[in-house]
């Protein structure tokens, strides 16, 4: 066991702050909460599979398998997909919010409140 307990605490902090932001009525805070949430989820997967220092899952040139034990590549592949997907979602969400704000109108913050509540 290396730094997993430390990461466990960090994951908790990220989840808590993400939840708190998503419970706000501001749309912008919701988006920021989403970003934190995806980071938290990625770290959660990363930490559950066990942490390894200084042994990336690479195979040295001319070899068929890595030398010695390496970090588990599968969670990394999953997280890589997740990072990219969550960026796609984020881009979409940000434009959507901007658009919603434009439609509702800048002056009428009460209405803006209605859309985002």
């Amino acid at each position: 066991m290396t730094a997993e307990p430390l990461l466990a605490i960090l994951v908790g902090v990220l989840f808590a702050t993400a939840t708190y932001l998503m419970l706000r009525r501001s749309l912008v805070k919701l988006v920021i909460g989403l970003i934190l949430l995806s980071n938290a989820a990625n770290l959660l997967i990363f930490a559950t599979s066990g942490l390894t220092r200084g042994a990336p899952p690479l195979i040295p040139e001319g070899m068929l398998t890595p030398e010695g034990a390496v970090a588990d590549p599968l969670p990394q592949a999953l997280i890589l997909t997740a990072i990219v997907i969550s960026f796609g979602v984020l881009a979409f969400a940000v434009v959507l919010i901007h658009r919603a704000y434009e439609v509702v109108g800048a002056d009428d913050l009460d209405e803006m409140k209605d859309t985002d509540t």
Binding site: T2, R25, L27, L36, P66, L80, V94
Partner: protein, 767 residues
């Protein structure tokens, strides 16, 4: 056999094409299919009559014990012949009856699919297969009842039928699974052949109750009888087929099928006997009060279904024989009567019996066949209905215990009413003074008379020569009873109590017919209070309650406030996780903080502080900047722990994210304090609960590994098989390439969405 069943569905799919190609003769062309099936099923007759049962099986899902297995014995063959035989006439009849309807092609699709489902249901040996066909009949019947979908009444009736039968179907599924568990087999033939009786089994009571819920709803037994008369909103051929001869008998079929295994207990005898008898009487009682000819017939069908249920419940050899004979007799005359009622409607445009009269001149053939079929319904010699009725009365008298008193009384009461009903539908429209009709009455075309002619005359022939029906009826009774009842069908039983009851019912029934109008009015007044507590009111209350409940839970759970959803989702997760921990008696934490390097402490602390700052700051710029710290910090964590690819990706994405946020967020208004301090305290508590839970989950899973990692394979095969040295990349583009392709689609979709939103905004501005 499998081919025979599947061929129906194939033809059903092609039916609209056939219809277009053959025009007004499409009914006859498509009727060739059930005719061919009838001949095919008839080829099993010699074997089945000889006391054999044929079993045919094809593998479907061997691992789940589900297979296409079919069982052909007396009972299923009787049903299959009725379904295919009456199907011939229903399809040809529909070809003319619905000639002018624009959706006739669709009708063929539905009625043929229904036929296939029904045949599958009665022939299936595998319980799951049977259940699938059972549900298919409910669904096709829903579509057929609601065939005139522009009519609100038809749609309501269709939904009612569906909800009642499918609701019962759910209970049935549970019951069948229990049955299979108790008997240790999914094949009906094996369950029936099983040595051990299920009577003493612990699951006997629940499984009987659940199965009976299914069969009672399907076969419109009291108190679920109300859906059947409403289903008369369907076109007449459907009523003739589904709601008299076939679908509603599915429940009866299943009870008859399981009778040898489940029957013989007091529970079975009393439940079926009493509910059947009450249904029988209720049906007859309601029939006499109806004025619409199809309603009259529908309630008399309810009465017949009650009779059959009662006979299965009684369980004596006599009752089995009576049930088989009554089943055959009823299918013949009821199919004929429904089609004739449709002919009257078709020829005159009139549905109300009190407005009819004197049609014998305009519709002589319709009148003749109606009289024959009605005589069979009334149970008069020399029709086959008489044979069935005599046996039924005899069987009711032979019921065990106190039922021997109750059942004959109810049977006599129903018999009296049924005589009146038979006279109302068989005599009233055709005799007496000639009436004026909306259309000039005219005789129906050949295609619409063929069915009633064959079915009603068959009732007469079998009545005169019961020996013709003897082999199949005896084989059916054998399946119902489980052993050969060893009886002969006879027209003349000698002078005995049932004959006396018959004579009494005839006389009393005719008296009621004579004074029908005043009887109806009298009953109508007397019944008004009772109608308020009728079972259909219960159904309506239930439906209202359902609507009220979904309204209520939508208001509570889906109130349009996103933060409520977030709160509910998160807290539910927390509750479930904590509940699981509590149920497992907590977990062991063996964490040590000694093997952590100094830079790891620093970076983790930085990320945590930045995240907390994001959550609390009121400055947008500060929030975005701190978010950047979180992102890059996480990237560093990836790099520290041997995930360079993740680190690179995270840095790229994080850069883009910050740019995007800076570009867009500053076009939005600044953060406002929407919520009051109390709300914020509540939210902080909820968030902390989520955070602590997630930390606990992670702590609990550390050091637990139930399975060897599947990535061993990836590590070993990366270079030899996929020629890549970066294993993470190889997984993404090779081992899991299809997932990556899906991911690309998601990104492309998001890009299209973003582009569309920006583009439309530009266009809005121009306009």
């Amino acid at each position: 056999m499998l081919f025979a069943i599947l061929s129906i569905f194939v033809v059903a799919a092609l039916a609209p094409v056939v219809h277009r190609a053959t025009g007004r003769h499409s009914g006859w062309v498509l009727a060739l299919l059930p005719a061919a099936l009838f001949v095919y099923f008839a080829s099993f007759l010699p074997a089945v009559v000889g006391g054999e049962s044929v079993r045919l099986a094809w593998q479907w899902m061997p691992g789940l014990d589900v297979q296409f297995s079919f069982l052909i014995d007396g009972l299923s063959l009787m049903f299959a012949l009725l379904i295919a035989g009456i199907g011939v006439f229903v399809v040809s009849y529909a070809g003319r009856y619905l000639e002018a309807h624009r959706d006739l092609g669709r009708f063929y699709v539905l009625i043929l699919s229904f036929m296939g489902s029904m045949l599958g249901l009665v022939l299936a040996d595998n319980i799951i297969l049977m259940f699938i066909f059972w549900e298919l009949t409910s669904i096709t019947s829903y579509l057929l009842i609601g065939y005139n979908h522009e009519d609100l009444k038809a749609r309501k009736a269709a939904l009612q039928g569906l909800i009642v039968t499918v609701g019962g179907g759910l209970a049935l599924l549970a019951g069948l699974v229990l049955l299979a568990m108790a008997a240790g087999s999914w094949e009906l033939s094996e369950i029936l052949a099983g040595e051990d009786s299920l009577h003493e089994h612990a699951l006997y009571l629940p499984l009987v109750i659940l199965i009976l819920l299914g069969t009672f709803t399907k076969s419109a037994q009291f108190p679920f009888h109300f859906w059947l008369p409403n289903a008369m909103a369907a076109p007449t051929p459907v009523s003739a087929y589904l709601h008299s001869a076939t679908m509603v008998k599915a429940g009866v079929y299943l009870m008859a099928r399981l009778n040898p295994e489940l029957g013989g207990t007091e529970l079975w005898t009393w439940t079926l006997g009493l509910f059947g008898a009450v249904t029988m009487f209720t049906g007859a009682w309601m029939a006499i009060q109806s004025t619409e000819i199809k309603k009259l017939l529908a309630y008399s069908t309810v009465m017949a279904l009650g009779t059959l249920t009662m006979l299965i419940g009684i369980g004596t050899p006599y009752a089995a024989m009576a049930g088989a004979a009554f089943l055959l007799a009823h299918s013949l005359y009821k199919g004929a009567l429904f089609m004739l009622a449709g002919s009257i409607d078709h020829g005159t445009g009139e549905k109300e019996v009190p407005n009819m009269g004197g049609l014998r001149h305009a519709m002589p053939l319709t009148a003749a066949f109606s009289v024959i079929a009605a005589l069979s319904l009334a149970g008069l010699p020399p029709l086959f209905g008489f044979v069935g009725k005599e046996l039924m009365l005899e069987a009711a008298l032979g019921a065990p215990d106190a039922l021997a008193v109750v059942l004959p009384l109810l049977a006599l009461g129903s018999a009296i009413l049924v005589v009146a009903v038979a006279a109302i539908v068989g005599l009233r429209p055709f005799f007496g003074a000639r009436r004026e009709f909306k259309r000039t009455p005219h005789e129906s075309p050949g295609a619409m008379l063929a069915g009633p002619a064959v079915l009603s005359v068959l009732g007469l022939v079998l009545g005169l020569f019961p020996a013709l029906a003897q082999p199949l009826v005896a084989a059916t009774a054998m399946s119902i009873h489980g052993a050969d009842p060893g009886m002969e069908l006879k027209l003349w039983h000698g002078i005995n109590l049932p004959l006396g009851m018959s004579l009494l019912s005839l006389a009393a029934g005719l008296v009621i017919y004579r004074f029908w109008d005043s009887v109806r009015a009298g009953i109508g007044r007397g019944m008004a209070p009772a109608m308020r507590i009728a079972p259909e009111r219960g159904y309506e209350r239930f439906m209202d309650g359902l609507v009220w409940f979904s309204d209520f839970q939508t208001r509570v759970l889906q109130n349009g406030h996103l933060r409520t959803y977030v709160m509910v989702t998160m807290l539910t997760t927390v509750a479930l996780v904590v509940g699981t921990f509590a149920a497992l008696g907590g977990f062991e934490v063996s964490v040590r903080f000694d093997d952590i390097l100094i830079h790891e402490w620093v970076i983790v602390a930085l990320v945590a502080l930045a995240a907390m700052f994001v959550a609390t700051t009121n400055s947008r710029l500060a929030a975005v900047a701190s978010l950047g710290i979180v992102g890059f910090g996480v990237a560093l964590i990836y790099v520290f722990f041997s995930a360079p690819d993740l680190g690179i990706t995270q840095v790229l994405v994080e850069t883009l994210t910050v740019i995007l946020l800076v570009l867009v967020l500053f076009r939005l208004p600044g953060f406002l304090k929407f919520s009051n301090p109390l709300t914020r305290v509540r939210d902080v508590i909820a968030s902390l609960a989520v955070g602590v839970t997630m930390t606990a989950v992670l702590m609990a899973t550390l050091g637990v590994q139930y399975f060897p990692a599947i990535s061993e394979y990836h590590i070993a095969e990366s270079e030899p098989s996929a020629y890549g040295r970066n294993i993470v990349n190889v997984i993404l583009v090779d081992f899991r390439a299809l997932d990556t392709l899906g991911e690309l689609f998601v990104l492309a979709l998001a890009a299209v969405g973003v582009y569309a939103m920006i583009k439309f905004r530009a266009e809005d501005r121009k306009s």
